[in-house]
């Protein structure tokens, strides 16, 4: 009995020894910086001055009257609301058809997933070139060659954000496809067979069996996708001239504004306040996900 106790005691010590360095890491590199970001958001610190002037919730109040912040928040939500459903829909169409194939499905998986794994900086510059005005840009050259009017793409307020979103969806839909394929594979064949014996058509099977059973997968994609689209940054920085999110801030997402505020105008406190807002948006979305998946399980 005593031997048993000393043994478990010594194993407990081993466990703490294994965790010692990681605990220090998580405290110093994750938790302390998070708390520090909250603290910074209550100051007007500009990196140059030695003191961090405490200003309470002034930075948060300023957000409400900051038209650029509102614009970037609007742009970001627009990316989520337009881009994510588009990539989920296209990902589903691909997954649904690939799932029915008798051969070649692994080749298509490889092809459609490729853009997701590619460096976004490289992707952004390749597409930036494709979108250039004639005679430089490939898309415009093609349009002109087949007798259609050339387009402004990245240079117009109306088209720039859509152009960036097309690139984003192109890079993203392979991910949706892979996850949805896994979801489709999880539906037992007997369900389809039973439905067919009952005389259900393809459309009916899709509506009554496939889609309802994919709901958990779709919820996961919706939540993780919302977080990914909320954090759009690299492609906008690399596809707009001078990385300014133009023309006229029409493509600028929240994270680019955060970056500019902190590392171009050095308003650390104000930028930290925006990151805290982003944190809470993501927190709320994650909590909703936990709630929904838990009620799904029951």
């Amino acid at each position: 009995m005593r031997k048993q106790r000393t043994l478990s005691r010594s194993r407990e010590l081993w466990a703490y020894a294994f965790l010692a360095v990681p605990i220090v890491f998580y405290v110093v590199v994750r938790f302390y910086p998070s708390i520090f970001a909250f603290y910074l958001s209550l100051t007007d610190w500009d990196i140059v001055s030695r003191d961090k002037g405490f200003v309470g919730f002034e930075n948060y109040a300023r957000l409400f009257s900051d038209s650029v912040f509102r614009k970037t928040l609007f742009n970001t939500i627009r990316y989520v609301v337009v881009g994510l459903p588009a990539s989920m829909f296209l990902g589903f169409v691909l997954a649904y058809n690939i799932n029915k194939l008798t051969f070649g499905s692994s080749l298509y998986k490889t092809v459609f997933f490729m853009p997701y794994i590619t460096s976004m900086v490289a992707v952004a510059w390749v597409w930036r070139w494709l979108y250039q005005p004639p005679p430089v840009g490939v898309f415009n050259n093609i349009l002109v060659a087949i007798g259609l009017p050339s387009q402004q793409f990245l240079r117009s307020i109306g088209q720039a954000w859509i152009s960036i979103l097309v690139t984003t969806v192109w890079a993203d839909l392979g991910f949706q496809m892979i996850i949805l394929l896994a979801g489709l594979k999880g539906i037992p064949d007997e369900y389809y067979e039973a439905a067919r014996i009952d005389g259900a058509g393809n459309m009916q099977i899709l509506r009554k069996i496939t889609l309802p059973l994919l709901k958990p997968t779709a919820i996961f994609l919706l939540i993780s996708g919302t977080i990914r689209y909320l954090r759009i940054f690299t492609q906008v920085m690399n596809m707009t001239s001078q990385g300014d999110g133009g023309p006229l801030n029409s493509t600028k997402p929240l994270v680019l504004y955060i970056y500019d505020t902190a590392f171009k105008s050095f308003e650390m406190g104000y930028s930290a306040a925006m990151t805290v807002v982003l944190f809470f948006i993501i927190l709320v979305i994650t909590l909703i996900q936990m709630r929904v998946t838990r009620s799904e399980d029951q």
Partner: protein, 271 residues
């Protein structure tokens, strides 16, 4: 199974869509072999294929250096993540100790913290501690991950306790039991985690952009972004740079595609 007409139509549509998806890649690689004069022609195959752009890039720019920086940082981050995430995951799967649940939840909760919120404090920390503009500055935030810890714990859960007890009877210490008995049993999970971590790190942009000012210490994505800003009218050079940044990952991807796709489906996350 008989191949129906529908099946052929589906195959054809998927094939065309797939080729269209790959078009930017074809275009990028084709252009990297074109001369400046030929860049704007709409042909996918270069008339006079040339290696000049690559020669130029590797002799007259900092690309080789950026490439090595990315490889170096990628390797260190990947090794560290594999070591610590599997050790921590193992500890949570196989040990009982006080505070276990709390510590586990705290580590998992770090997955919810967006990097964007941490970069400003990391930047200040790096400046205060002299880590700005160093490789260590690029590396330190990625040494461990809550995601990898969670993943490894799931896999170590399925390792039988009898094996561990057998190791104890043989007189191995706890660290050796983990290293010599349990680690070989979770190799598939380790390789998936290694690939995600390396690729994620290879493509990382925001933090290296912030912490490095010194052009010689840029990683590939930061260097590429900077280089393209300078040379943006010489599109054949931009495409060559993009190819150099992309091709290593594409090769890794084509070799390990089965594991990567399975791993993504399993865990639903990129590094």
């Amino acid at each position: 199974m008989k191949i129906s007409r529908m099946h052929i139509v589906t195959q054809a549509v998927l094939l065309i869509t797939g080729l269209a998806m790959l078009f930017p890649f074809f275009w990028m690689i084709a252009t990297s072999f074109k001369t400046g004069r030929e860049v704007f022609s709409l042909s996918l195959i270069p008339q006079n294929p040339t290696m000049e752009n690559y020669q130029e890039l590797f002799t007259n720019s900092n690309f080789p250096l950026w490439f090595l920086n990315s490889v170096l940082c990628g390797f260190i981050v990947t090794l560290s993540t594999l070591f610590f995430d599997s050790l921590v995951g193992y500890t949570f799967a196989k040990y009982r100790f006080r505070g276990k649940k709390l510590i586990f939840i705290l580590i998992l909760s770090t997955m919810m913290i967006p990097t964007e919120m941490l970069v400003i404090p990391w930047f200040i920390m790096s400046n205060d501690l002299g880590w700005a503009n160093t490789y260590w500055g690029i590396i330190f935030p990625g040494m461990m991950s809550g995601f990898g810890t969670f993943l490894m714990r799931q896999f170590f859960d399925s390792v039988p306790n009898d094996l561990i007890d057998a190791g104890r009877i043989d007189g191995l210490n706890e660290f050796d039991i983990w290293r010599r008995i349990c680690m070989p049993l979770v190799k598939p999970a380790l390789s998936a985690l290694a690939i995600f971590t390396f690729v994620g790190n290879w493509n990382a942009f925001l933090w290296p952009l912030i912490v490095i000012n010194d052009i010689y210490k840029y990683t590939l994505p930061v260097g590429l972004s900077f280089f393209n800003g300078e040379f943006q009218t010489e599109w054949e050079m931009v495409m060559t740079g993009a190819s150099v940044a992309t091709i290593p990952v594409l090769i890794i991807y084509l070799i390990f595609q089965k594991q990567i796709i399975k791993g993504i489906a399993l865990t639903g996350i990129k590094g």
